[in-house]
Amino acid sequence: MPSDTDNLKESSENQLKEIDLLDFIRIIKKRKKIILGLFLIGLITGILWYFLTPSSYQGTIILKIGGIDRIAEATGKKSIEYFENINEIAERLRKGAYGDYPKVEVINPSSTNFIEISIVTEGRDKTITVLEKIKTDILSIHNQKANEKKEAIDQEISSLKNTIESFQRDISYALSQKEQITPLKLEIYKTEKLINDLEKEKTNISMTETIKGPDVTEKRPNYLTIFFAATLGLYIGLTLAFFIDWLGKMEKRL
């Protein structure tokens, strides 16, 4: 037969495995001062925060990063060789490499060549100025790289064209000497193909460009801040009330 101690232990275990809704009401009633007090603190803090916080201005620009489109011959898979790796741009911007301006946030939506740059400053004009500076810096660096690449391709094409002319002269000479010209013609064909590839590469160069912005929005606490601060106070109050009650129970048990 179970002893009284066993019964007591069992009943205490059962109590632990149940939630009594009346307990909630009892605790709320018992600790109403703490709950109400923290609710009021939250409310007042929210009101002060709402009225005393100065406005700040968040600006955003979206850039499309340029590069050279490549298609792998074997797989046909498309890829872009960027003028600057998107993650590297993001990292350099975050570290302030483009100049001295407030901390920037950079987002690169996965699998895209877009980059969203946003900053927050205390003035609308300052936000626009800083974003314009960042944009100009990035565009000028990338455009310079694009132009350098195009020039390099042009030079290579012109050099290849000279090679073709030299082959043609060799062909004329070979014909006059009644020698074989097929290998020379093959070389011309190969060189022409190289020129075609280079011209194609040139058309595949896309420039870095602005897609959107700078867009500036005023950032200041809205009236919901007061509501959230009060709710936060109430929530902390309730949690504290239940925690104190739980501590009391633990103390009694010990």
Binding site: I19, N87, E91, R94, Y235
Partner: protein
């Protein structure tokens, strides 16, 4: 015999809920501030109605006490700190109201699924009936995948889709979780039932059939997780009991996998993606694929950006719903709910692992052992998946996970009584 209408309604509501999770498509209910669509599914409406009716029925019954489900406190603290983080970030205007609200609501819903299932199961037979229904619902989904493969009309992001789903990961993980639960139930429960061999074979095929959905989805991550899950299933089987019959079935299942995979590979061109990580046992291709497509592109930059974005980040985070896509559950937790709740996440997971391990190692009833083994394996598999994706926020697999967690915990509690 008088019909107990209340009990019948509860069972019916659970079947409807399971059916909605398995089949419901999503409907657009507007867009969030980040232009992400708010998707509503039939189970969202059902759980709201059933949950409301359950509360009304409890309040009108005159009772004041309710059974405390296992995991109650870890879940309560996880949600409590999550809510605190959201409220703080809302107050400081760090987090948009709609994002925080809907993401938190979604998370809350998973736990409501769990509590609802736990409170509604009063008999082991109800749990068994639900498992049978899940087996049926899974089979319908597998038939749908088979139809897509044969007809060539694929409805998934890359390969085939589950009914009402499109995304590669949600489809793959939905089938993966069903496979783990049903296959473990087969190994420890169905196989030991007093039924004929053809009946057992039929149940075996139905339990293992969701593998077709995993392959068909063409999800590399789920493919890697499948190998991990099968390894764990075998390991637990080895730890529990080395029974020749069970081992034979396990080997047959693996053998069944090969023609299934080659059938899918022949008919679903996008499954070729999975081939990139097929030499999984050498680990290198898998690791390289992870580094190139996840770590350097998303995880590392997201982590670095998050470190610089807020002063209070390490403690309470930026609020649930802040991160777009982190491709890592642990990173998402760290950014959104901070260090404190990240720790709480592990405590919650540890509590699930502990309970399921106890159920697995101490239960004598095959049904409870099968459910516990399934829960243990899925939980560890989800932790594995969490390195490359955020499985704990994906609706379709998570609804299945918490539904089965509810069944498992209810069965373990009923067995104790």
């Amino acid at each position: 015999m008088a019909i107990n209408y209340k009990e019948t309604f509860k069972i019916l509501s659970l079947i409807l809920l399971a059916g909605a999770i398995a089949f419901s498509p999503s409907f657009s209910a507007g867009t969030l501030s980040n232009e992400k669509i708010i998707e509503i599914r039939v189970e969202d409406i059902l759980i709201f109605v059933f949950g409301f009716l359950l509360i009304i029925s409890f309040l009108t019954s005159g009772k004041t006490k309710v059974e405390r489900p296992p995991l109650f406190f870890p879940i309560l603290i996880w949600l409590g700190i999550g809510l605190l983080s959201i409220l703080i970030n809302w107050a400081f205007s760090n987090l948009s109201v709609d994002k925080g609200f809907f993401y938190f609501l979604k998370e809350l819903q998973f736990f409501i699924f769990y509590f609802y299932v736990f409170w509604c199961i009063k008999k082991i037979d109800t749990a068994k009936l639900l498992v049978n229904f899940w087996l049926f619902f899974a089979s319908i989904n597998v038939l749908y995948v088979f139809y897509q493969i044969v007809s060539g009309l694929r409805h998934g992001e890359y390969g085939t889709a589950a009914i009402g789903e499109w995304g590669v990961f949600p489809t793959g993980s939905f089938f993966l979780l069903l496979l783990i639960f049903l296959f473990n139930l087969f190994l420890y429960y169905f196989l030991r039932l007093n039924i004929s061999i053809p009946q057992k074979a039929g149940l075996g095929v139905l339990s293992f059939a969701p593998i077709l959905g995993v392959f068909g989805s063409a999800s590399k991550t789920n493919f890697a997780a499948l190998i991990f899950a099968l390894f764990l299933t075998f390991l637990f089987l080895f730890l529990r009991k080395l029974d020749f019959k069970v081992i034979l079935v396990f080997i047959l299942a693996i053998v069944f996998m090969i023609p299934t995979f080659s059938f899918v590979l022949k008919n679903v061109p996008d499954v070729i993606r999975v081939k990139e990580i097929i030499p999984i046992f050498s680990f290198k291709p898998l690791w390289e694929s992870y580094l190139n497509s996840r770590f350097y592109d998303v995880i590392k930059p997201t982590f670095e950006a998050s470190l610089e974005s807020s002063a209070h980040l390490p403690f309470l985070g930026m609020g649930i719903g802040y991160v777009g896509e982190a491709h890592n559950q642990y990173l998402r937790n760290f950014i959104e709910v901070g260090f404190i709740n990240s720790l709480m996440f592990f405590i919650l997971i540890l509590a699930i692992v502990r309970r399921s391990w106890q159920g697995f190692s101490k239960s004598r009833d095959g049904f409870a052992v099968g459910l516990s083994a399934g829960l243990l394996t899925t939980t560890l598999t989800l932790l594995f998946l969490s390195f490359a994706v955020e499985p704990f926020i994906v609706v379709k697999p998570m609804s299945v996970y918490w539904f089965f967690t509810g069944i498992t915990m209810a069965v373990l509690s009923l067995n104790k009584k």
